[in-house]
Amino acid sequence: MVLAADIGIRTREVIGFQRETADTVTLTIEDPEARGFSPGQFCMLYAFGIGESAISISGDPSRPGVTEHTIREVGSVTKALSSLRPGDRVGVRGPYGVGWPMDAAIGGDLVVVAGGIGLAPLRPVIRQVLGARHRFRRVSVVIGSRSPSELLFRNEIHEWRGRFDLDVRVTVDAADASWMGPIGVVTVLIPRIDVDPAKTIGMVCGPEVMMRFAAAELERLGIGTDRIHVSLERNMQCAVGVCGHCQMGPYFVCKDGPVFPYSRVAPFMGVREV
């Protein structure tokens, strides 16, 4: 019996490689069918003979024909994927998942809060916003990282900071004297941003603990929890909601998410080991 999960892996060529940090790289992969994607979606990338891993798409939604994936080396599959170079082949399934609510953010203020590798699935949001800047009002980007050397997309962050129509704040958990920016956890930057809470959409991505505290800070600003969105991470294998691994409460993170309104998932996130 052929099921949705048996939809084959497509073999695609890697056409670009960029090292972001000591343990993180970005691969640019051809997308000849120009399937496109929505910010927040992910693909299952397959390293021949080793396995698949769910990797967020971190590129530009308006650039058809390629997708960028930012991969952190944490296990055997991501290690194999990180060693691919232009000309190599990689298996791709996707894109999958419910992405960030870009339509809901149009016409209002937007706050993007990214922690660590959480900036990867949020970069497409910023790129899409900048591609149609007039459609949004005030846009704040708050970025936290472990240390300056572990900041992703540094050059791009510099560009964003240079713009007058974007409020970008970056903090690191620890740094040496060469770092001239703030030091501390990303959540303390949130009370400083200037948005109209009734008209603001919040998008948060990072480790689960960080997302809970960041959502709490956004809530303290007066933004309703149904307007705060988080991107959850669980063990994703089939990516279509039939293998059961990625469940968090009643939700399949792969197909009901990975992006959820915080109001929907908060009650379950509060249960230990759910």
């Binding site: 343990d23 944490v74 620890a174 040496d176 001239m180 920016g181 030091i183 501390g184 303390v188």
Partner: protein, 153 residues
Amino acid sequence: MCSNDVLRSHQFCKDADTDFVMHLVSCGPVERSWEAGRTILTSGETADRLHLIVDGDVSIGLHTPGGPPAVVQTLGAGDALGLSWLIPPYRWAFDASAVTPTRAITIDAAKLRAAMGEDPAFGYAVLSRLLIAMADRLQATRLQLLDLYGPRR
């Protein structure tokens, strides 16, 4: 001197009644400023004032032997800088420097302690606000310690 409006609109006085603000005013708050790179407090010296940061980034760090100062945290607008002025023997535990040009409202610690002793209701109000500020900071520091973005152990 410091205009009452600047004091009143500081985070430390959020939702405070006039009584509270006037008590602070009676301690003679002064607006100060520092250029980027200037030292605000030095660890070991007498903790004789409370700084309420109005604007700018202030780094909290420690001077370690044989190396540059290790910065552990940055405070900013709305934060209360300094707690050791309340705790004997009233000596600063850390260094603090202005990373960017910084403005703050500075209040004499001895006068503040005296006012708190004379009027326990005011003393209670000051302690409550400091406690909330410190609880937030402790939470933030704990999150920092968790090294959330670090490699999984």
